[in-house]
């Protein structure tokens, strides 16, 4: 059958199910979406689906192909109704056949979610009072009657009221649709904790974009209060906030922006006494202060802790951006500036002046670098200092190397493994490579799955996921582990779960044993 089709006739799930029949598929999952008798507190009696057919089919086919590639399922298809439907009628059908149930469930869920978000299908609802209205917003349909989120049709325009915070689901569709992000990338962001040092001109865009992107935990460190002279370049704050601690106002605004994000405001400056604990509590540090003392303090702390960090500074119309990664060849701030300058020597925003878009641009670049690091998209980047001139719009990338004279304590790290502690997934081509990584392999598959392993692909350490879930066994407390399962789906979930418990040094084998075998 076609991977995705639109049907003007009633859907026939039995036919579709038999079309997906596959003797090698041990799991079949299906979703059926039906016309509900109410929406937004109004009685729905009938509805009509209208699709932009050409685009809808193309986009639908793309989604099914994505699901098959992402979850490694054997067959998948989706059929969406168009035309008039009565209450209770089948509106959309998704079916997936996979080797195991995990992939089948995940792929089925992925397809229906993406179809609802991305396929251009509009719904005209007819209500019991004779009225009707177009609904193109998938989120609206998910709300129960009485929810404050409503389309109040006045004939000319619809109005979105502020959604109930608890009921609102933050919509990441526009970034998840990027092939490099996807649901896996979104899960990485949700599992990440970022320390932002400084909530001023650089920190404001960093905080806004990281919160909006769904970074799970943001720790904000800044001991300053909002001053009138800040507002021209820190528009997260308003006139009414003058005098209040910046971190307190920022936390309010960011929580209003995205309820998924846990914001931890710390109304203190980074000091030698607190910086190490702050840095260790997060996966990544974004340095946004306006002084050398803090920048070098943070640089030294990330080097000691082995955490990646993003640095930026601005001067009038220019800015500099530097990313630090805890890799053996990577330069830290002191490698670039062996003689730490004293504050006041080269001017800061107060002394030299600055236009708002300059720190805003550099802050946005820092947020971009942070997201690329969290998503693992910067693996091929070479260390450099990027200089941006906002007057001429010239950018210049200066290649940088670690200074062998730089005497900073470098973190140990397993030999041969160039992976950050925070990488959720690691890729290996062969079992030998994985075994040589310095990580201990832990097989979380069930015993019956291991029974068929060829002799050369047996992993001695076995902690079945079912036993872990039931609490019969504990995951080993110390050490660095590469968790493996059949396709890398269960292992990734376990790693994400362990990370939420503050555990580092655990990674998932991307693609699972299936990849190693092929």
């Amino acid at each position: 059958m076609q991977p995705f089709s639109l049907s003007p006739a009633p859907l026939t799930p039995e036919t579709y199910r038999s079309a997906l029949a596959d003797r090698a598929a041990g799991g079949y999952a299906s979703f059926e979406g039906r016309v509900r008798d109410h929406n937004e507190g109004r009685r729905v009696v009938r509805l009509e689906y209208e699709a932009f057919e050409e685009l809808a089919v193309k986009e639908g086919e793309r989604i099914v192909a994505e699901a098959m590639a992402r979850y490694g399922v054997r067959r998948a298809a989706c059929v969406h109704r168009v035309g008039g439907l009565d209450v209770g009628e089948l509106a959309v059908w998704v079916g997936v056949a996979g080797t195991h149930r995990d992939e089948a469930f995940a792929a089925c869920r992925y397809i229906i979610d993406e179809v609802k978000h991305r396929v251009p299908v509009w719904k005209l609802e007819h209500y019991s009072d004779g009225d009707s209205g177009w609904v193109a917003c998938e989120r609206c349909a998910a709300h129960e009657p009485g929810s404050p989120h409503a389309h109040e049709g006045d004939g000319s325009q619809s109005r979105h009221e502020v959604p109930d915070r608890a009921a609102f689901v933050h919509d990441y569709s526009r970034q998840v649709v990027l092939p490099e992000v996807g649901p896996g990338g979104q899960a990485r962001l949700a599992a990440a904790a970022v320390l932002v040092v400084g909530a001023g001109g650089l920190g404001v865009p960093v905080l806004q974009y990281l919160a909006a992107a769904g970074v799970g935990r943001l720790v904000i460190v800044d001991g300053d209060r909002v001053e009138p002279s800040n507002l021209h370049r820190q528009p997260l704050y308003g006139v009414a906030d003058v005098g209040r601690p910046k971190v307190e106002v920022a936390a309010e605004r960011l929580e209003a922006l995205n309820v998924d994000v846990t914001v931890e405001p710390r109304a203190v400056h980074a000091t030698p006494d607190n910086v190490d604990a702050l840095v260790r509590s997060c996966d990544l540090v974004v340095e946004c202060t306006d002084n050398f003392r803090a920048k070098f303090l943070v640089s030294d702390a990330v080097v000691r802790a082995g955490k990646p960090a993003v640095f930026a500074s601005v001067h009038q119309y220019e800015g500099q951006l530097q990313v630090y990664r805890p890799l053996p060849h990577w330069p830290c701030l002191r490698c670039l500036w062996p003689e730490a300058p004293r504050d006041g020597m080269v001017g800061n925003c107060a002394e030299a002046g600055v236009l708002g878009p300059v720190p805003a641009t550099l802050g946005a670049l820092e947020a971009m670098a942070a997201l690329r690091r969290l998503l693992g998209l910067d693996a091929g980047d070479a260390p450099s200092l990027v200089m941006v001139d906002l007057s001429s719009l010239e950018t210049r990338r200066i290649g940088a190397r670690r200074d062998p004279r730089c005497d900073h304590d470098r973190p140990g790290g397993a030999p041969g493994l160039e992976a950050d502690e925070m990488d959720l997934e690691l890729e290996f081509a062969t079992l030998t490579q994985a075994l040589e990584s310095g990580l201990e392999l832990v097989d979380i598959r069930e015993s019956w799955e291991r029974a068929h392993d060829p002799p050369g692909l047996q992993i001695p350490t076995h902690v079945p996921l079912s036993e872990l879930v039931k609490g019969h066994v504990e995951f080993p407390a110390d050490g660095r582990y590469l968790i493996v399962c059949a396709h890398g789906v269960r292992s990734l979930s376990l790693v994400e779960h362990l990370r939420t418990q503050g555990r580092t040094g655990v990674h998932s084998l991307r693609g699972g044993l299936a990849v190693l075998r092929s």
Binding site: A312, V314, G319, D389, I398
Partner: protein, 79 residues
């Protein structure tokens, strides 16, 4: 020889220009900075700056060649 020099931040302000072609007889990046510091009255000590030659950070002892693109980079702290 002629080299292409670019200035950033406080050096740009002090020199009053962002870039210039410089005819010079000096041998190293350090000597070039000292020569230009005298001409433009730069007061930042060289030890605080970094120099990049042809888009790579270089040592001050780096020997210059005709046509090299040289950038003097002061540290920047604003945020």
């Amino acid at each position: 020889m002629i080299v292409e020099v670019r200035y950033f931040a406080v050096l740009r302000e002090r020199a009053g220009l962002a870039a210039e072609s410089v005819e010079t007889a000096v041998g190293t990046a350090a000597e070039l900075y000292d020569e230009l510091a005298a001409r433009h009255a730069f007061d930042l000590p060289r030890t605080l700056l970094r120099v990049a030659v042809n888009e790579e950070f270089a040592d001050w002892s780096h020997r210059l060649s005709p046509g090299d693109r040289i950038v003097f980079i002061p540290p920047v702290a604003g945020g």
